[in-house]
């Protein structure tokens, strides 16, 4: 019975993982990049970093200067908007973000603005592209994108739970990675990357689902907030402090000065912790200004805000969710987005994210290897195996190339080219599509090698490109991470190259010397019934010999 249970879990783990594996890899990579989204945006707008002259106005905080600057910019680009939004630069970045919404539209248009001065910056989506791709993809309507991501996240949770049951030796093999043993090594890499970051994987998957909870589990909310009482909008207002702008009165009026309001907000929230300004119906007599608190040094992202009359500056309302439910939701979402993270914690988040991508990648590769061996025994390689191998290359080796290409596009496209922001993103997907076509023209191993080396080269040469096009290394830490990523890709490629050389002999000898329990576990994992020890050993030897010509 126990065996049956484990076998069914293994089946579930294999197929739940395979079905959404490629999407999960892309989601992991984009999410990992999104931990540094403001840093990426800064790097992608080097003008800001070079021409930075912080002109300190006497008696005004830099935050107030940035806010005034952003609102002035909004008055130029979107005087008739129904809502303005300003993300103030925080300690981590000098980039402020402005966004606006036109009457009758749900769409936000956004733009980055310098914290001070009049530096002209190139248009780019920057790190926000990865952030948005992570939870709602691209080219598909946001709602459908979110549904696809939710579906994948659900499968991820299933794969994690069934994986812990399937790979039952994860704790005995906790510190184990054995190289040069073919499928065994892949399994080691898969379980090691899974178990070493298991707290992270579980946390990030579960909290990811929590961020999408109003889509995935809407019933409680729908029951409690029936349509006649305003429906979900009331829920959003109460739970997330979110409401659509009230209609304009129709009488023009001048907006009140922002600096005193900011000072009031900071007095309530703590110094420099105001993070976002919402202005509803700017230039109208019914204007409202809402200032929300940033996370500061709390994990929770749950909001606190003050709403002011936009013309008189009178305080109208305050909002805070400090009840248990609100804090629970806030902490979970905060854990997911790592908004709170000090530099070192952010770095370990980043590393854990990469390990997550590695876990997905090794799982996918293992499936392909296992099925290729199986079908080679049968004499022909089926379409399914080919498809998985092909998609593995396009997803695992191709996505990093696309990410690097996105950065290259940012530096190589002319600064003033029209639709620049869109062009960069289109190039990202165009390059990714090319990496999906490339394996059709090449043998599997060759395609892997070429793509991995190409990706490594793109990343390693990125600092040089930065130096040539901009004239200086605008953000050395970014360059160092690029070099590191390039090195990882190059190591993967070298690993693949080495496996080509005739090195199978000692590995085969080692397999034979392996103590029996490991071998039998290995075969148990491969879904074959347990066999008495001697025949297992022979099988292992035959197995290696059988693989010999193909290596």
């Amino acid at each position: 019975m126990k065996n049956g249970f484990r076998q069914s879990m293994a089946w579930l783990h294999t197929w739940a993982g395979l079905l959404v594996g490629w999407m999960l890899f892309a989601i992991f990579i984009s999410g990992t990049a999104a931990y540094y989204r403001s840093a990426i945006t800064e790097w992608m707008q080097p003008e800001r970093l070079i021409g930075q002259t912080r002109t300190a106005d006497a008696g005004k905080s830099p935050q107030a200067v940035a806010a005034e600057h952003a609102l002035a910019r909004l008055a130029v680009v979107a005087p008739h908007a129904s809502r303005w939004m300003v993300d103030l630069p925080d300690g981590r970045s000098a980039v402020g973000e402005i966004a606006w919404q036109m009457p009758g539209s749900a769409r936000f248009h956004s733009e980055s603005v310098a914290a001070s001065g009049n530096v002209k910056v190139r248009a780019t989506k920057g790190g926000d592209f990865f952030y948005e791709f992570h939870y709602r993809l691209h080219y598909v309507p946001p709602l459908i994108g979110s549904w696809i991501v939710s579906f994948c996240a659900m499968f991820m949770l299933i794969a994690i739970v069934s994986g812990v049951i399937t790979h039952r030796r994860i704790f005995a093999d906790f510190f184990t990675f054995r190289q040069g043993k073919g499928q065994r090594s892949w399994l080691d890499a898969h379980t090691a990357s899974a178990v070493l970051a298991l707290p992270y994987h579980t946390m990030v998957t579960y909290t990811g689902l929590v961020t999408l909870m109003t889509m995935l589990m809407p019933w409680g909310m729908l029951d409690r907030y029936p349509q006649k009482d305003g429906g979900v909008m009331t829920f959003y207002a109460e739970a997330y402090d979110f409401a659509n702008p009230a209609p304009a009165v129709g009488k023009p009026a001048t907006l009140v000065a922002i600096a005193p309001l900011l000072a009031q907000a900071n007095q309530r929230f703590g110094e420099q912790t105001a993070r976002r300004i919402w202005v509803d119906q700017p230039g109208d007599a019914g204007a409202r200004i809402k200032i929300t608190r940033g996370t500061g040094d709390r994990i929770s992202i749950s909001t606190e805000s003050i709403t002011f009359n936009g013309v008189t500056g009178q305080r109208l309302a305050t909002y805070a969710r400090d009840d248990v439910t609100g804090q629970t939701a806030g902490v979970m979402m905060g854990l997911h987005e790592a908004t709170f993270a000090p530099p070192f914690v952010r770095a370990v988040y980043f590393i854990s994210g990469l390990i997550g991508a590695l876990m997905v990648a090794t799982g996918l590769i293992m499936w392909a290897i296992k099925h290729r061996q199986k079908s080679e025994k049968n004499g022909r390689i089926g379409f399914g195996t080919r498809l998985v191998e092909h998609l593995n290359i396009a997803a695992i080796a191709g996505m990093p190339i696309a990410v690097a290409a996105y950065f290259w596009a940012n530096r190589l496209l002319p600064v003033d080219v029209a639709m620049r922001q869109k062009l960069e993103i289109n190039l990202f997907f165009a390059v990714w599509a090319l990496t999906a076509i490339h394996p059709l023209l090449r043998k599997s191993r060759r395609a892997w090698l070429e793509q991995l080396f190409f990706g490594a080269a793109l990343f390693v040469l990125l600092p040089a490109l930065d130096r040539i096009t901009v004239g200086t290394w605008v953000m050395p830490s970014f360059d160092l991470v690029c070099l590191g990523l390039g090195a990882i890709l190059a190591l993967c490629a070298l690993f693949l190259l080495r496996r080509r050389s005739p090195r199978r002999k000692p590995a085969a000898a080692k397999t034979r010397a392996e103590p029996a329990p490991h071998t039998s576990n290995h075969t148990a994992h491969a879904h074959t019934p347990p066999q008495p020890e001697p025949s297992t050993r022979q099988a292992a030897v035959r197995h290696t010999l059988h693989k010999e010509p193909t290596q």
Partner: protein, 113 residues
Amino acid sequence: MMAAVLCALMTYAGLAALSLAMHRHQNEVFGKALRAGPSRMFRYAGVLLLAVSIIPCVHAWGGPIGLVGWFGIMTASATVLVLLLQFAPRPALYLCWLAPAAALALALSSALP
């Protein structure tokens, strides 16, 4: 920053000690399996080090964020340990001594004016 580095070294040493309580890794590092006594000592030392390693994190970042950071740092140092055990088992052992050395250096630097 210093606290994070200290925590990383301590979790590394703790995890290394736990791994050295296992026969497989004893074989990798010492070339032979140890007897029950030393193995048990390694296990106790590992648990103790891991338990203590959360202190610098909480000290630097406060309770909640310290806990999150501690888990993350443990993941990072475990990854380093796993790779070292396979590719350079002896250096994997030597790296353990960095933790007490760093702790001593930190204590001295804070004690001295």
